[in-house]
Symmetry: C2
Subunit: 530 residues, 2 copies
Amino acid sequence: MSASTARLKHFGWGREGEGLTAEEEAFVLARAEARFATKLKESASAPALDEIKLHEPRVKAPASLPFATCDHYDRAAHTYGKSYPEMARGLVRDYGNAPDVVAYPRNEAEVAAVLDWAGGADATVTPFGGGSSVCGGVEPLRNGHKGAVTLDLREMGKVLEVDKTSRAALIEGGTYGPALEAQLRPHGLTLRHFPQSFEYSTLGGWIATRGGGHFATLYTHIDDLVESLRTVTPKGVIESRRLPGSGAGPSPDRMMIGSEGILGVITQAWMRLQDRPTFRAGGAVRFKDFFAAACAARAISQTGLYPSNCRILDPTEAYNTGAADGSVAIMVLAFESADHDVEPWMKRARECCADHGGTPEASGAEAHREGAAGVWRNAFIRMPYAMERLILRGVVNDTFETSITWDRFEQFHDAIKSATENAIVEATGRKGQVTCRFTHVYPDGPAPYFTFHAQGEPGKLGAQWRIIKGAALDAVIRNGGTVTHHHAVGRDHRPWYDRQRPPLFAAAMRAAKKALDPQGLLNPGVLIDP
Amino acid sequence: MSASTARLKHFGWGREGEGLTAEEEAFVLARAEARFATKLKESASAPALDEIKLHEPRVKAPASLPFATCDHYDRAAHTYGKSYPEMARGLVRDYGNAPDVVAYPRNEAEVAAVLDWAGGADATVTPFGGGSSVCGGVEPLRNGHKGAVTLDLREMGKVLEVDKTSRAALIEGGTYGPALEAQLRPHGLTLRHFPQSFEYSTLGGWIATRGGGHFATLYTHIDDLVESLRTVTPKGVIESRRLPGSGAGPSPDRMMIGSEGILGVITQAWMRLQDRPTFRAGGAVRFKDFFAAACAARAISQTGLYPSNCRILDPTEAYNTGAADGSVAIMVLAFESADHDVEPWMKRARECCADHGGTPEASGAEAHREGAAGVWRNAFIRMPYAMERLILRGVVNDTFETSITWDRFEQFHDAIKSATENAIVEATGRKGQVTCRFTHVYPDGPAPYFTFHAQGEPGKLGAQWRIIKGAALDAVIRNGGTVTHHHAVGRDHRPWYDRQRPPLFAAAMRAAKKALDPQGLLNPGVLIDP
């Protein structure tokens, strides 16, 4: 049950044949050229498949694993995730870390067989999910071992069982977003986990990376939607019980959720579902500035109303996506329910906005698809395609997301923004642009999401990115934030994660990993060193 | 900042001078005698302090720890928690496992000093919280080591810092419920974590045991209210960042939450707070039977309305507490908010009840203190005092709580109830009584809470309890439940926890413990063997 017949691109976002329309690209390019006050010429090209030179496999797929391959496309397409530095390396045709073997197991026994074989062959094993990692989480490093195998669970994409009474389903780890929702739809159920990468990411990947999804409040991460997990480790299977809630010791699931493939491969999960919503209220609200919008977001987050959407965009972010003219900040607000009219909820949230000078742009059941909210939503979905086009024109463009308590937010925002702006000048010699939005809000603080744009120098893009992103994350860590709110740690964020994470927790995790993966073969270098 | 000037009883529930009134005791006794159709005579007496013989301390409190003592009262009062078998052992004056030393550190440095000294003296260390454990979680076992030290954090009871903007506070681990709320009240804030043991339990204890609290939905456990933790381990301090949300690796806090004192001592926590509610709606609803009430509870749990209370009592449970006449099941329903009128929420919940034949008993802002709801609430708070009186008359009485998905609930309920009823006959030769209520409900299932009553034989109470509780937990585990929803595992539940918990998760936890507590001194035998 594949999500689509087209195969994933070996370079860039999405599947073969997908990308920006000419119109979309013209819009994005015009905005970028205006931003840098210069024409941006294409100075590089995406690597064609036959331009990519791969080393000879150091380990080969054995006949006992007929679902494993050493084919050129498979190895090239599994060399990288979708982070900016990975794209920059792809542009210069650096495919030195291509996996030797890509395995597509069709069931849990085949996952275990790969782990067994890799243990004997001294090959590392990197679970791939949908490969949409934006933090260097799926590059199949060898880390001193003989070979590197990538495990792609795309053949394990079935909803195996649906429990309508408890609103839960048992779903295979390799299930892509669209296939997952398609299989739940006949039952009137939905997971409602819609990350930006929805079409190109899998349930197992969402869980392994603590992915953030649709809900701006309450169920912000996949964590709370997990009822139980089945994970294959080199030492065997860990399966937790289906329980609505438990207080029996530390949660076994919470050890696996966010483990980014270093402890095991998530093959199945019972997930908590929702009825498909039938009541909606929402719309965009304009504010004179970002901090006024933040105050309104704080007020709403502390009401106990739990909107499904409560995202704010700073004026430049709103302008860049076409959602506003650059003079106002925007809040995208929505409530939804399968049970009851949510207008009383929306009414109270609108009052919170008005208290902070917010003026509604539109209202009504379908407002979330219209006006500023709709424009922004579409731009959000298409954004990753833009990066793959702009990098060819030497643009250094990336995002990072964090969280901070409300009391520190304004100072934090200014510190991160100016550190990133200064680093852009340092790295490129020119001014760039840093924007901010909130993706999620909690009663105790927001999750600010920053985007930066710089005009880089072809051939130096990776190094320039490193200076900018490094300075940004330095500022995040120094000012008390988290290195990632929902993009995961991977390898790109490791140095800052190491500063954030309590050292003794690292010691405990290393010991736990040793117990489950004694050879240290699973995704080495992610989160901890073996 | 002590919660009270009276000291904790050395035997029984609460502080010295507290207990049932004569009127309450007469009510409880009458109900019990009617249940067993016999007069219940007092056949035992609570041990007076001077009747308790303690062994000579095998390790002594050194002069360097002036806050540690070997005094008789302190050692006797810290020998047991409040579980039934512990009381039964107290009745027969079995104080063989009294701690050698009880330490009352006044700050984190003194906690660390105790751990250091205990490491050198080869003594185990058991964090005590408020000692209200009902699962054998605080008995200071030596486990082959030379001595046993109990760590009582009652002198660390301060709210250190309040962040009104983010609605959070930094609170010391030894803070008792009433002192915690008293210190938050001037700020208009509340933790709203009100377990049955509220007056005799501490923040650190709630976190270490994944305590369940006030909210019947959504924030059911303390887990979600923890913003960050500071824990002292034998290897040093683990401190997590104050973050509203994070996706950076597995949560370090989630390793400590529920660790029941085996990994470290929780000295401080930043806790997420609420504004004090000003809007309320609620009342009791009557149903013809328990399963009809359960269907209504399921419907409400899946609406997204999130009532603060949605507890149901079966007819016998309702009768025993005086909340109804035994012919009907009762639902206690309440909404609360500091922000908005909750009548629209209550109205919709009432419709869900009506769909399943529920008829409201009363309604209005203060209904939760009146009628069946109020009677039940009071009986709930006073229940532990009843146990301490009834055990003197040979009653074997205990509770156990679990959770199960909705699809399995009715079969599960009947299996657990009949297994427990049969075990009562097996253990005592007489019929007893098993009742059920829901304490918490989730969209995917309820948390059923069972109570059993049996007429035991003085001198054999512990053994009879073991047969009944063992059969009950066998049935819980066999039928897919959790060994505990919010009472923790301790030592009483270990054999069944071992069957529930994935073996490889135990291996990972053992490795993690070894990294933090290499000598295996912290609360040995709880959750895992070192």
